[in-house]
Point group: C2
């Protein structure tokens, strides 16, 4: 049996390019004792993948050239030698950028297709949703009346951050790229204000949208957004640091002056809390997340949007676009129906 | 009655100079209804005072040119129209750089001269001790076997940070300026290791002294020490940000490259917690601090050292020296006996 898969061809310097990845067709053995054969239905594309293909040390083991690209997947069991799984079961896996996968079953999580669309296990009910939930509530701790700012506000994480902020009674201010996304964030998601990241007066508009300053900034982009947010952070503001997509393709440190001293001084005098996290640091919150998020979706308090590209072939271009903010909503590849 | 006092003459650009301050002799009225007249015995000199005479916004109201320099004092009641205080009472006050002070009594705290030397109310049993206690325990949260690093380790705050770290079962590594201070930190205070800040190979020696990396860095200096600490911070390290004495006299941001992005990225990938604080953010911990610290001093687990300069005249030079690390222990001015 043949399995098509994307491997890392070469570590990118700066922006990944199509030739960063290589499509292979490899033989796949039949499932061994205790194993299941999984067919990928959905592949999730997420910013963290840029870190995995970088030479720099990050929180997880990187993908070596020649290895299959990693990624969360929703898959169907097509053959099973494992009593825990039956043909036709739908599971959440970390199968990577490929059509098929053999698994011993340990890391698989069965999904109930009747409870929610199965793709949501990669988005609002999965890792991105839980990233928003844990980072905002555990580190950000928004209180009623406070101001919460998040960028990439139409994206898989940012959209959820703002909506949870609203549920907690805070004022949600989003930053998004372009008029369509801004309209969606304000009108569909119900943020109190939204600013176009591409607007040359973005910093002034952000300040105007935050008349009482910023109490929580959920950091997932860095760059110019961070520079605009920084002077507005209130005393005792909290900054969950979740990502820095504006810098993932950096090849050298930004030019001077060195703003790190200014940052440390602000942490001191404004008594900021800055804390980095990844979602699995808060793995014990998964039951609470699932319960709350399912209820919020049902009550119409949390909406989500998926940006679906068709076919495994499209994964590299979609991923390259993701790093430039070209997606609109949670980016997913439909690998098979 | 005449009262000699130091006022701010002019805001310093960079390093304060003797002419930054001006000694005045002013008339002092008799205490009015409900007031007490206080004679300053001890004046505390502390790094935060640099912030108070700066034009930059900080956490507290600044001292305006012409105003008396602020500072914690231990004073004697020499006349009282307040039923709460009698002549001869010794009180902790915030009387500033002057010989006498009138007070309505509200902010005064009576001291028991039999319980501890009264000067300790400005040091180990006062603001600096409580700064070490609250910042280390609440933000740093050292666990047994972890490594805690602190600079200015022979100073009023650093010395206490390391000794509390030891009490909690952590490894205490200090950084101090010069052989005498280093010897004191290791031999008298019992730190596990100490590195001379002036040693050109300080970064390598710090790395060697922290073979398992750094779990808590109590930041009170910034500058080269921070640069040496930064690469050694472990995943989930905590950084209470208490001061940045290396930068208080900066007149412009350090040259590039801009290291703030590298810092944010480290916060993210190493899931650092950086949090600024001032001691009064944790005012509710004062009873616990007093109880624990008194007990630790009695048990010989916490030692302290005072650096006493004689006479109010000496305050400016002593303060200028403090910002350069010339003091050895908690810096105090004996204003009167």
């Amino acid at each position: 049996m043949k399995n098509r898969r994307w491997v890392l061809a070469t570590r990118p310097e700066g922006e990944p390019k199509p030739e960063t990845f290589r499509l292979e067709s490899a033989d796949l053995a039949d499932p061994g004792a205790g194993e299941v054969l999984l067919k990928t239905l959905w592949l999730s594309l997420d910013p963290y993948m840029r870190g995995r293909i970088s030479a720099a040390k990050s929180y997880a083991k990187g993908v070596e050239p020649g290895e299959v690209m990693v990624g969360g997947t929703v898959s169907e069991v097509v053959a099973s030698n494992n009593p825990g799984f039956a043909k036709g079961d739908i599971v959440l896996s970390f199968g990577g950028w490929q059509e098929y996968q053999l698994s011993a079953g340990k890391e698989l999580q069965k999904l109930d297709p009747k409870a929610a669309p199965i793709s949501t296990a990669l988005g609002v009910l999965g890792m991105p949703g839980m990233t928003a939930y844990t980072g905002l509530l555990t580190i950000g701790q928004p209180k009623a009346g406070e101001t919460v700012v998040v960028a990439a506000a139409s994206g898989a994480v940012g959209a959820i951050v703002g909506q949870i902020a609203k549920i907690k009674g805070a004022r949600a201010v989003g930053i998004a790229g372009g008029a369509d996304k801004c309209r969606y964030v304000e009108e569909e998601l119900g943020f109190d204000a939204v600013i176009d990241r591409r607007d040359p007066s973005m910093p002034e508009k952000l300040a105007a949208a935050c008349p009482k300053g910023i109490d929580v900034y959920f950091e997932n982009v860095g760059g110019e957004v961070w520079d605009a947010v920084f002077p507005l952070l209130n005393t005792f503001a909290r900054v969950p640091v979740c990502g820095m997509i504006a810098h993932y393709n950096d090849t050298e440190p930004p030019p001077g002056p060195d703003k790190s001293t200014r940052l440390m001084r602000a942490i001191l005098t404004r008594r900021l809390t800055m804390r980095g996290f990844i979602v699995w640091d808060f793995a014990d919150q998964e039951p609470a997340f699932r319960r709350d998020m399912a209820q919020w979706i049902k009550a119409g308090k949390v909406k989500y949007r998926e940006d679906v590209v068709e076919g495994l072939e499209a994964a590299p271009q979609a991923f390259i676009g993701l790093l430039k903010g070209k997606n609109f909503g949670k980016l997913l590849v439909r690998v098979a129906k």
